[in-house]
């Protein structure tokens, strides 16, 4: 195992919420895209809801990132070289890549949001109809999935103990992002009056995402080896228990019932578990 002596970067609550909301925004868009491409007419309202949800959640993300900077007014230095005024892009720096992905994904989320709004009024923006529209949401979904997962890679591409001792963080946060996205969509869907068919589909999808997340949690700890013992401190153990409750209980509920109230309870637990996971990963390595 690599031995480094690193000062924690003091990435705290802004980053935790960015990871959480970025996972939801990217995941919800991807689920909306898949529902739109593969679903039937009964799923169309839920797909539209996904696009309506993604942008407002995403809009908070750049604000959080900017507020986290020591010099918020210099946020543009991430994208533009302040000396040459050329573009700044370093493919080997996940923070640099992530900023561009966030920016590009905002464009996709914005256009899909407008299209969903237009669709609510009974019209469809012509450029998103047909093959071009399908390609558009597929590309948007790729950026959304990237946004949900790159945050873990950002942590790993450092020398911070725990973060840099595992390759599984990106995968884990992506699986969790998909799970909290399905839970968010399921929750909002069940609050409204949508087809039960779409609700059942979301529940089934969340089942797969939760199983994937549980497998990756095991992989995460196995890849950490002895370093993972830092998480055995009581305060982190308490959060890991919340993470487990936020995965195992919803999974059990998904298998046992698809009734409305338990399903909504499961979605809330998934969201709490997803937030707890990000808190323990971000803070646990820095303390």
């Amino acid at each position: 195992m690599v031995e480094h002596f690193v000062t924690p970067p003091q990435w705290e609550w802004y980053i935790v919420w960015y990871f959480f909301l970025g996972g939801i925004a990217g995941g919800v868009y991807a689920l909306g895209a898949i529902l739109r491409l593969l679903g039937d007419d009964r799923d169309a309202p839920v797909a539209r809801l996904a696009f309506l949800l993604s942008l407002p959640v995403l809009a908070v993300c750049p604000i959080l990132l900017t507020l986290d900077l020591g010099r918020p007014l210099r946020f543009w230095h991430m994208m533009i070289d302040s000396r040459t005024f050329g573009l700044n892009f370093k493919y080997w720096s996940p923070m640099s890549v992530g900023v561009w992905v966030l920016l590009i994904f905002c464009v996709f989320a914005f256009v899909s949001f407008l299209e969903a709004l237009a669709s609510l009024r009974g019209s469809r923006a012509p450029f998103l109809a047909g093959g071009l529209g399908r390609v558009f949401v597929i590309v948007g979904a790729v950026f959304g999935l990237f946004l949900a997962g790159y945050t873990g890679i950002l942590l790993s591409v450092s020398n911070q103990p725990i973060w840099s001792d595992t390759w599984a963080l990106g995968a884990l946060l992506l699986a969790s992002g998909l799970s909290v996205a399905a839970a968010t969509l399921s929750l909002v869907t069940r609050l409204g009056r949508h087809e039960q068919s779409a609700e059942a589909k979301l529940t089934r999808a969340d089942r797969y995402f939760t199983i994937l997340e549980l497998v990756l949690l095991v992989v995460f700890f196995l890849s950490l080896g002895a370093v993972g013992s830092r998480f055995l401190a009581p305060r982190w153990m308490a959060l890991w228990v919340v993470v487990l409750i936020g995965t195992l209980v919803p999974l059990a509920l998904h298998f046992s019932t698809e009734r409305r109230v338990p399903a909504m309870f499961a979605a809330v637990l998934t969201l709490v578990g997803g937030l707890a996971l990000r808190i323990v990963v971000v803070f646990g390595a820095q303390m």
Binding site: V2, E3, H4, F5, V6, T7, P8, P9, Q10, W11, A30, I34, L35, L38, D43, D68, L69, G70, R71, P72, R74, H77, M78, S82, R83, N88, K90, W92, S93, P94, M95, S96, V99, L145, G149, Y150, I153, S156, V157, S158, N159, Q160, S164, W167, A168, G170, A171, L174, A175, L178, Q196, S197, A200, K201, R204, A205, R207, Y208, F209, L212
Partner: protein, 254 residues
Amino acid sequence: MARTVGFFTDTTLCIGCKACEVACKEWNQLPGHAPQFGDGYDNTSQLDEQNWRHVQFHERTTAKGGVAWNMMSDVCKHCALASCMEVCPTNAIIRTEFDTVYIQPSVCNGCRDCIAACPYHVIGFDEASGLARKCTFCYDRLQANLTPACAKACPTESIKFGDLDTMREVAGARLNQLRGQGMSEARLYGDKEYGGLHALFLLTDKPEIYGLPPTESAVLPSRNNVRGYLGTLVTAALGVAGAVFAFRERGGKE
């Protein structure tokens, strides 16, 4: 005048006077933190945004059962392959004409990615300015053809400054001299790590004792890029497959 400069810190000559710390703070106008006193003479604790030099005191038991200090004036290593520079998204961290690593205060936006990347816990975040800060190798003094303040102030010449190649020669000669005198535990740190450091250290114990990663741990953050992206890509494929399967599945309670 462009040249490749370096420090050579000979810890066997360090007397722990902290003249380097004081000179650094004076020249760079660093107010420092309030002193913290533990059970030793170290009252600066670590390198950070205010402490660009830090004199470490490490107690050790001698062969005769006595107690002795290993002292070392720590500083930014100005790595040839610098982890901080690799991850910096704004290109605020540059390599100067002296081959040193410098954070441009006018470019840094305080994202702190460099802090998580530095394996020598060198960089600190300055709340007052909102910037990441560390040793500049006295960039302004180098431009004026002056010796960095710490090396200038060191009364025992434990901190030596000069062209990097010269420093390597001096360090090698000193290592041979000490080993010739029977100090078999003497070792040189910084020749191989991160492509060669611009701050070489002559140590009398394992690097880890001084907060220096062992040679085999001197690896860059980018080592995790490929496997991180691959793991995420596989997960994305499995996640999409799961969603496709779930959304296409028929029957059940639809």
